[in-house]
């Protein structure tokens, strides 16, 4: 039981938790994207940890690079949608997103 394992698991879990907490609590669309990014960072940390544990660092690096790419594109699309919504609504308030019901 190395301190590294403890800290890595705890840090990843706490980061994921705070990311999801932000996601759940915030009223701002851009902060949602930040929350997603925080969670992704934690997951990257987890992936690194997994690679260290199973000794397949090269494969892990390939995974991480792909994840980073996907994450960036998600951020771009999310920012694009958020900016368009801002143009419609005039602010980034997430509770304005209530037009769909019926």
């Amino acid at each position: 039981m190395s301190p590294f394992t403890i800290v890595a698991l705890t840090a990843a879990l706490l980061l994921i938790f705070s990311g999801l907490y932000l996601l759940l609590k915030t009223h701002n669309m851009l902060r949602i994207i930040i929350a997603i990014e925080i969670v992704m960072k934690a997951i990257t940390l987890l992936l690194v940890f997994a690679g260290l544990m199973n000794g397949k660092m090269a494969l892990t690096q390939a995974f991480i690079i792909t994840v980073i790419l996907v994450e960036v594109v998600v951020a771009v699309v999310a920012a694009g949608v958020a900016i368009n919504l801002y143009r419609h609504n005039g602010d980034m308030e997430i509770s304005r997103l209530n037009k769909l019901n019926g």
């Binding site: 949602i32 987890l46 199973n54 998600v74 949608v81 769909l100």
Partner: protein, 490 residues
Amino acid sequence: MPDQFSMLVYSFLGLPLAALVLFNLFGKRVMTKFYMPVGMGICLVQMLSAIVSLVLLSQYNKDAITFSQFWNYQLYEGASYFSPDTFSFLSLLCIGLVGLVTFLVAYPVLPDRRFQFCNVTLVLLLGMNGIALVYDLFSLYVFMEVTALSAFVLIALYRDAKGLEGSFKYLMMSAIASAFILTGLALIFLNTGSLQYDVVQAYLANWQNGPNPVLTQIGFIMLMSGFSIKAGVAPFHGWLPDAYQSAPAPVSIILGGIVTKMAGVYAIIRLVGEWLPGSSVVNVAFMFLGLLSIVLGAMSAIGSTDFKRVLAFSSISQIGYIVLGISSGSPLGFVGAVFHFFNHSVFKSTLFVNSAAVEMQTKTTLIDKLGGLHKQMPVTGTSNILAFLSTAGIPPLAGFWSKLLIIIAVWQAHGGVVAGVALFASIFTAVYFLMVQRKVFFGPCREEWKDVQEAKFSIRLASVLLSCITVGVGCVFPWILRFLGAQGWI
């Protein structure tokens, strides 16, 4: 099997890529007329290839066509390559079919933005084809992201408030799902050192005795939650009605018809149905999720006032049936779930095609505003009835058989109460569909809809084609069952 045939599989990825290059290489002036026909052609070729591959598989008694990679022929451990099996080809067939219908409907519905629509739809098809073809969980995740991203863009195609809103909600939930899936993958990868299907399957078969069972358990729960969000299984379904309702008409067809199923249900079927058929914990969990989806979807659909939203809730309910079938853990339930997968993509596309026809002709999908359209739109109304009956599981339509298999399997696995609830909920299915049918198509024609015309030819063609498949598959289903029995799959 002759090696040349395994080249067939390249068409699933190669053709859309080639079309993308073609579209963007030449100017829009030249290509405008060709976007939709090329898309349709690609979907047709995909359907044909899928059918040929299915025939080949059964001809040569092979489980899967493993085809080599693009520039290297050696397969190391941890490699990601393509190995579609029967279920993959069935999904590819569904993708081709729904894609074809989408292009058929988009042809008259989207006179502008064809360039954008066709490009992104082709990417969407690529993503879904990738999901069906790959043999590695991480690649599955990547293609899932491709699918989801192109779906966000398609929903927000018109950049109207509703579309953007639905897109953003889908995006948020999908991001959470991705996070869950990746967490799960990381924790499983920690133990296996590879994410190839067979490695993960072998590990999951005996995970309790493997290293780090706690991490694996957490990882598996995360994985399941992520896939459930993508599939729209209750209680992870929140985004689904909004996304379906807000999307442009052709986009809701491809979303409701295939995207959520490829993005979520496909993985659930693979993981739970194929890899963990005997796991009682997972089966009980999915039994609860399936029942909740069935009941919640049906109940919510009853109170909905928007045609597309009713269909969205119905999707939740039907996906619940698929999940319930998988949760039985028996081969019968698996076959039932796979067929419900196919049937649902057929009849749900029909219904969305009809909603697109109604929306195009009347510019609204609010049920209370519509009424008495059957006289003006007989083809749409009739195919709608057929699809509804198939959804509700009325014999001899296709939906009846798959539901029957599922309910029998569930009865055997979980007892009569669960099967009874599932059966009872299908009464609700009939209720809300009859309600919609009565309010939209039957009854006296409203004054403002007196001059409504029947939908355009290509839309009618699409709904007639799908209705024929529903009826035809329903009629030949006993033979399909016999064939499956002869193959020893049931």
